[in-house]
């Protein structure tokens, strides 16, 4: 069974890449994973086009969850999801969870074969602690 994919979106490419490293080392290789961070001119920020590309890299027919950090990361991720093709849009969910912990928890749940709703719910359950 295909695992739900995980996308990490941070204002900082270092944070996004570091969170992705933690997922790879703690959870493993079986979950589709992509990260993006920083604006096209090399500063802090997020970019709608890059978020769409990250969703594409982590794509799974089971769906994708997106972990975001502050403000713009969330609004740009919402915009990126809006712009996805119809058949993909409904399968991509943003998690209201801390980006690092949420990514590890979501990936662990995804590796166990859970649906995209359950993966989102598990990441958000962690944040509610």
């Amino acid at each position: 069974m295909e695992s739900v994919g995980v996308v990490i979106v941070s204002h900082s490419p270092k944070v996004a890449e570091g969170a992705a490293d933690m997922v790879r080392q703690m959870v493993g290789e079986e979950v589709p994973l992509a990260w993006t961070g920083g604006n096209p001119s090399g500063g802090l920020g997020t970019d709608v086009g890059q978020i769409m590309a990250a969703i594409d890299r982590a794509w799974s027919n089971a769906g994708v969850v997106v972990l975001v950090d502050l403000g713009g990361a969330e609004t740009n991720s919402e915009m990126a999801i809006e712009m996805l093709p119809d058949d993909r849009r409904g399968k991509v969910l943003i998690c209201n969870a801390p980006v690092v912990e949420g990514a590890v928890v979501a990936a662990t749940e995804a590796a166990g074969g859970s649906s995209v709703d359950i993966v989102q719910q598990t990441a958000e359950e962690y944040s509610a602690r």
């Binding site: 080392q25 703690m26 959870v27 493993g28 590890v104 928890v105 662990t108 749940e109 590796a111 166990g112 074969g113 598990t122 359950e125 962690y126 602690r129």
Partner: protein
């Protein structure tokens, strides 16, 4: 899976955590991932009488924070309960397949 069917099993097991930092983040992920392979209901506790948490919930296992030297108790119910408990006890016995590094 219904209780009381012919294929249903109940199994329990216990093992002392030797891992230097106990059941922290990385071991928690490994334990949860392994538990999720099995169909049985699997629970985890620090004593024979519980309280019990769902071993397949990464959030609950992460929050469990069992320290080095504490005894982990497993109990499982279902068609593969015996194999599940054996596999989980073995994972802890193998020190979660890591001898060094933090949590």
């Amino acid at each position: 899976m219904k209780n009381g069917t012919a294929t249903d099993q109940a199994a329990t097991g216990a093992i002392v955590i030797a891992h230097e930092v106990g059941l922290h983040a990385r071991p928690s992920v490994k334990l949860t991932k392994l538990a999720k392979i099995f169909g049985s209901k699997i629970e985890l506790g620090l004593s024979e009488g519980g309280p019990w948490i769902d071993a397949k919930s990464i959030v609950k296992v992460m929050a469990f924070k069992a320290a080095k030297g504490s005894t982990l108790h497993f109990r499982a119910q279902g068609g593969d309960a015996t194999q599940a408990v054996a596999a989980l006890v073995d994972l802890v016995r193998r020190d979660f397949d890591e001898r060094h590094g933090g949590g």
